[in-house]
Amino acid sequence: MLSVSAALLLTLAWVHQAQTLYFHIGETEKKCFIEEIPDETMVIGKYRTQLWDKQSGSFLPSTPGLGMHVEIKDPDTKIILSRQYGSDGRFTFTSHTPGEHQICLHSNSTKMALFAGGKLRVHLDIQVGEHTNNYPEIAAKDKLTELQLRVRQLLDQVEQIQKEQNYQRYREERFRMTSESTNQRVLWWSIAQTLILIVTGIWQMKHLKSFFEAKKLV
């Protein structure tokens, strides 16, 4: 019974893994993704790498020496995570300020030979907020029935939506302030420019007139 469920778990995990987005990354290339999240939100990123094998003409799981360096910056461009992981890795962070967090990945390979002919295929999956909750674990820990677990899921989802909405309200406020300030500035600059033009024109005329009079031309 246990081995059957373990096999089922593994199959599901593998199936889930096989369906993530992937992209190709060059040797010195750095790929960055931006996640705009409210505060106190957990983010879990999982990646899996495969190296192009010229002999078999396909992508194989990459050599153990090849890892990825993950760097995460918070909205104030302060580095909150900067770590090296292996060819398959999982990184987690929780945001403490709302805003745009930047997740950057680049490979740590120094030997050109590893990449010869090629590219590294990186499968990436980033889960934010309530998607990070491990429900089987929560169900086991709190001993929840299926119904209770479902309701718990709904509660978490609604909480996340509410947090996002609060964050959006705060962002909209800042956006509105920037717009209004731009509008005001356009108005004041236009008035100031018109005044300066008029003043400059008058000064020019007066100065030139007195100059011509001094030169006895007028």
Partner: protein, 228 residues
């Protein structure tokens, strides 16, 4: 006789408990969405690949959030290399595809721009990815509790309904967030532009008036006699 019956009851409860976990696990891979926001440097083309199954559906929605012009070229290719959709210098777009088995390639192209970096947001919504899973399998595992079973099913249906709708809310929220981010970036760049050009304008005006006065004066400063 009694003992074996008790053992059977215990076993069935055990199976029911355990299969609860399995059902919960099985339900998690229904409709998967992933969204990414990344910067596309000028003159570059970046491609992302998604493995799909037959008879599933892939919905791709993208928006350009920042970068002069707010436009990008987008194309989506099937596993056989055939280009299914190709957008030229669009600011946002949405496409839905009924998929075959294989890897679909989504490409964002910023080669037409040599100076401006684009911030691109895209969201992939995958549906019907588990076509080989029978959602009613779990019913075989639940023994006993017959009367409760009926009511439980209704409640479960209602909850599933609510979860699906909330999922849709989350998707709409993500899209609105992207729109708002784009408008905000646009306004912030407007702000910077207004400030910068106003100061330049002011300096140019002062300079021009000074130069004009100087030039006119210099016309009369040389030794030439001016007729009176």
């Amino acid at each position: 006789m009694e003992v074996s019956w008790v053992i059977l009851r215990v076993l069935s409860v055990f199976v029911a408990l355990f299969s609860d976990r399995l059902v919960v696990l099985a339900r998690f891979s229904q409709s998967m969405d992933s969204d990414f926001t990344f910067t596309l440097p000028p003159g570059r083309r970046e491609c992302f690949y998604q493995t799909m199954k037959k008879d599933a559906s892939l919905e791709i929605e993208y928006q350009v959030l920042d970068g002069a012009g707010l436009d990008v070229d987008f194309s989506i290719s099937s596993p056989s290399g055939q280009v299914l959709y190709s957008d030229y210098r669009k600011s946002d777009g949405v496409h839905t595809i009924e998929t075959e088995d294989g890897d679909y390639m989504l490409c964002f192209d910023n080669t037409f721009s040599s100076v401006s970096e684009k911030l691109i947001f895209f969201e992939l919504i995958l549906d019907n990815m588990d076509t080989d899973e029978d959602p009613d399998d779990w019913k075989e595992y639940v023994h006993g509790t017959d009367i409760l079973d009926m009511k439980l099913e209704d409640i479960m249906d209602a909850i599933n309904n609510v979860k699906a709708r909330l999922g849709k809310s989350v998707q709409i929220q993500t899209v609105l967030r992207a729109f708002e981010a784009r408008d905000r970036n646009l306004q912030e760049s407007n702000f910077d532009r207004v400030n910068f050009w106003s100061v330049i304008n002011l300096i140019v005006m002062m300079l021009v008036s000074g130069v004009q006065v100087y030039l006119v004066r210099s016309l009369f400063d040389d030794k030439r006699k001016i007729r009176t």
